[in-house]
């Protein structure tokens, strides 16, 4: 397992003289890549032409969905393989440029592509105390690559492994480190893949108008054919293709909006000038009497509901009675049918019993209270953290807790990046250790191309909304608002709260997932671009789901003990076939869980980062850099890290014991990794130190990955 890197290093370089910077790619790969880019652009051109000549909007979405899924499937068929080296690590001959691109697509999930810009729009710099976010996502998801590049990817590549749990087997020996690592890898990847498939379902159902569950199945079809037939090799090339789609779909609307607002399409460079204007607009909105009126109305609504909440049964009965009364009067007076339908729908939508009513009203109260704050509860765009370090004691606590949660979230995302198995296995596919290092650089460059534009996009959209949308009349609102509101009212809702016929900032509520999807229409681009953006989101979700599913099935088949006994009399090819079927089962299971709609995308993703960070990273880093790390220490570290994180997530999900606040130092549950990582490190060090003092016959001979 531990053969020096030379043998693998020579292979790709024999036909190429020493690489200048970055391993250069072979000619056919470069040609294929340019053909791919041209193909995507040509396809877009044809679609735009078709729309111009009257192709119905109803067809554009399905065509995009169909071409993406078919593209994945076709690549899977072209790259089909049963050779283990090809299936698990793409033959270890992916050049750094493409490996970086594939890793970028693997990395940027539905959360980054669809939700990131929206989160930046809603949360500004740092989000709120209870919901940290904003730029923590940008920093965490890019900063983690420094850890990957400096600490983890090169040594792992040097060891010629196939999966991440393999590392624990090689370094620590024995059975348990590998089994626990495999379980941890499965747990965090599964949480993550559920979020991706949820995203797939969301976008596919929006693109085609089919049901959510059918959307999941449609999207999953492409993933399955691709990873089922071709394994890592097929996934690599689909991910390259998906990166191209994602990149174009992100860049076109951002550049267009920047050009429209500032006459310069290079959004990341020039968006700074809009920040000052946004600050001025925010001042104006905060001082505006109409906005204050809207906020007062929301406050009143919340107070009314609060009163109802004191006696839920009575309030519910009264409400039902009054609605029935109104309905009766309307029927007697032969009122307009549509009005009667409205009222009876309202009646049907009343909560069935007191418990659901209580829950629903509490949620509404929270929403109303938030919208009763200035700017609809959104923080000022460039203000870091809530509260005020020089204000009252309450404001000071708010400030320090908001800052603490922001830093904790960033920590979890960064360390989690260094532990997520699907990303690390991507760097196994490089021809050499040097190429692994180059791959990480390329990945970060390609990710940054999108991530540097995301804050710009959020700012441009905010300016567009505050400057142009707010103050327009309700009877000529842009069409897209109504269309999206029809798709899902949680994405965008507008209501004339103070009945003045003019849209106030407080009256419009945009969901995080909408911002990116609605940008093209906000900028006045043709519908094709909207379809393209949705297709980009689909590509992002599919590419990540690809990598995750492969990681899960490989961990299950290669690393888990219960396969060990009967895998001894199997050929490697047979094992690959088993992997393929496990992959299909896992995909089905994930689809089933996603169909239950357990949570939103971002919290799920963040939780899986916390899990990966605390379960895998401490034992892995110590195993690489500390000769004294022992098998027992690694096992203890992984179990402790995983245990602490799961406990913290669980306790907070259940609301804590005996009503007390279960949070430690006010840290939000999604940032549980901030406790899990130190706990894991400590456990590994302590147990290793204790075991290290035992007589030699109790100790294993640890194999250190020599000379990183």
């Amino acid at each position: 397992m531990k053969s020096p890197p030379k043998s693998s290093k020579q292979a790709p370089m024999s036909d190429k003289p020493a690489p200048l910077q970055g391993g250069l790619f072979q000619n056919y790969q470069l040609k294929g890549f340019f053909l791919l880019v041209l193909g995507v652009l040509a396809f877009l051109g044809v679609m735009a032409w078709a729309e111009f000549h009257g192709l119905s909007r109803r067809w554009i979405g399905p065509i995009f969905l169909f071409s993406i899924v078919m593209g994945c499937a076709a690549l899977g068929i072209v790259c089909r393989t049963t050779d283990p080296e090809e299936y698990y690590v793409a033959g270890r001959r992916i050049p750094p440029f493409f490996n970086g691109m594939a890793a970028a697509a693997d990395w940027m999930s539905a959360a980054s592509f669809i939700s990131l810009a929206g989160a930046l729009y809603l949360q500004g710099f740092s989000g709120s105390r209870g919901e940290p976010g904003g730029l923590a996502y940008v920093l965490g998801w890019t900063g983690g690559f420094c850890l990957v590049a400096l600490l983890i990817a090169p040594p792992l590549r040097r060891m010629n492994l196939y999966t991440v749990p393999d590392f624990f087997a090689v370094r620590f020996g024995g059975r348990w480190p590998r089994v626990i690592a495999a379980l941890a890898a499965v747990v965090c990847s599964f949480t993550y893949v559920v979020a991706q498939i949820y995203g797939v379902g969301l976008i596919a159902s929006r693109l085609t108008g089919v049901q959510f569950e059918i959307g999941i199945m449609l999207g999953l079809g492409g993933v399955l054919v691709c990873s089922f037939l071709g394994g890592m090799r097929a996934i690599t090339w689909t991910q390259v293709a998906q990166y191209v789609v994602m990149f174009l779909t992100f860049l076109i609307p951002v550049s267009w909006l920047a050009y429209k607002q500032m006459g310069n399409p290079l959004a990341p460079l020039v968006y700074g000038q809009q920040l000052g204007k946004i600050a001025a607009l925010e001042d104006k909105l905060m001082a505006s009497p109409q906005e204050k009126q809207v906020q007062r109305i929301y406050l009143e609504r919340a107070q009314n509901l609060q009163i109802k909440l004191e006696n839920v049964e009575l309030a519910l009965a009264q409400e039902r009675q009054s609605l029935q009364e109104r309905l009766r009067v309307m029927r007697q007076n032969d009122m307009d049918v549509s009005q009667i339908v409205d009222v009876s729908r309202e009646l049907a939508n009343l909560p069935k019993d007191a418990a659901t009513a209580r829950e629903k009203w509490r949620k509404t109260i929270q929403e109303d209270l938030q919208r009763a704050q200035p700017l609809g509860g959104m923080p000022r765009h460039t203000q870091a953290f809530q509260g005020d370090p020089d204000g009252t004691p309450a404001e000071q606590t708010l400030f320090s807790q908001s800052r603490l949660n922001f830093l904790a979230l960033m920590f979890c995302l960064m360390v989690g990046t260094a532990g997520l198995p699907h990303l690390l296995t991507r760097y196994y596919t490089s021809p050499s250790v040097a190429d692994t290092r180059r791959s990480v650089v390329w990945s970060l460059v390609f990710i940054a191309l999108v991530y540097l534009s995301a804050p710009a996009l959020a700012v441009l959209v905010k300016f567009e909304v505050m400057n142009n949308l707010v103050g327009s009349r309700f009877d000529d609102l842009p069409v897209w608002i109504l269309q999206w509101a029809k798709v899902d009212p949680s994405l965008v809702s507008v209501s004339d709260v103070n009945n003045d016929g003019i849209l106030q900032f407080g009256e419009i509520k945009l969901g995080a997932d909408l911002i990116m999807l609605a940008t093209p229409e906000l900028g006045g681009l043709p519908y094709v671009v909207s379809g393209l953006v949705a297709a980009g989101g689909l590509a992002a979700a599919l590419s990540t789901a690809d990598g995750l599913l492969l990681t899960i099935s490989n961990s299950l088949v290669r690393d888990l003990h219960f396969f060990e006994r009967w895998r001894k009399n199997q050929s490697p090819e047979q094992r690959v076939i088993v992997s393929k079927f496990v992959l299909m089962v896992v995909a089905m299971l994930a689809a089933f869980v996603a169909a239950l709609k357990p949570s939103q995308i971002l919290p799920l993703v963040t939780a899986s980062f916390s899990l990966a960070a605390s379960a895998l990273v401490p034992a892995m880093v110590l195993g690489i850099f500390w000769k004294g790390a022992q098998r027992a220490g690694a096992v203890a570290g992984m179990l402790t890290g995983l245990g602490v994180t799961l406990y913290y997530l669980g306790v907070n999900a259940l609301g804590g014991f005996s009503g007390s606040d279960p949070r430690w130092w006010g840290i939000e549950p999604v940032c549980a990794g901030v406790f899990g990582v130190p706990a894991g490190l400590l456990a590994t060090v302590l147990v290793s130190a204790v075991v290290g003092r035992w007589p030699d016959r109790f100790k294993e001979s640890p194999t250190t990955p020599h000379q990183i």
């Binding site: 923590a136 920093l139 400096l150 870091a384 800052r403 650089v441 940054a448 020599h706």
Partner: protein, 90 residues
């Protein structure tokens, strides 16, 4: 040959990680204090640092590390055979 080169990579790694830590955690920790009014960018500097500056630093860090380490690896790969060949004669 490995041990003599180790200090360099250890130091390099430590310095680079410290830089990453300062830019990300440090930059955000003091975002409201003295970083925001720095007159470097059109808007508040702390926003630019968190939104874009830090990412650029990360790329620099990763790129620098890869360049230094790969150059060192290449040097190491070439030297051992020469030493071995020369050994018996000298």
């Amino acid at each position: 040959m490995e041990t003599s080169k180790r200090p360099l990579q250890g130091w390099l790694r430590a310095v680079l990680l410290l830089l990453v830590f300062c830019v990300s955690f440090g930059g955000c920790f003091f975002a409201r204090d003295w970083i925001a009014p720095l007159p470097i960018w059109g808007g508040p500097f702390s926003y630019w640092l968190a939104a874009q500056g830090a990412v650029l630093v990360f790329i620099l860090v990763v790129g620098l590390y890869a360049a230094v380490m790969n150059r060192r690896d290449e040097a190491l790969d070439e030297k051992p055979p020469q030493v071995l060949e020369a050994g018996p004669h000298v």
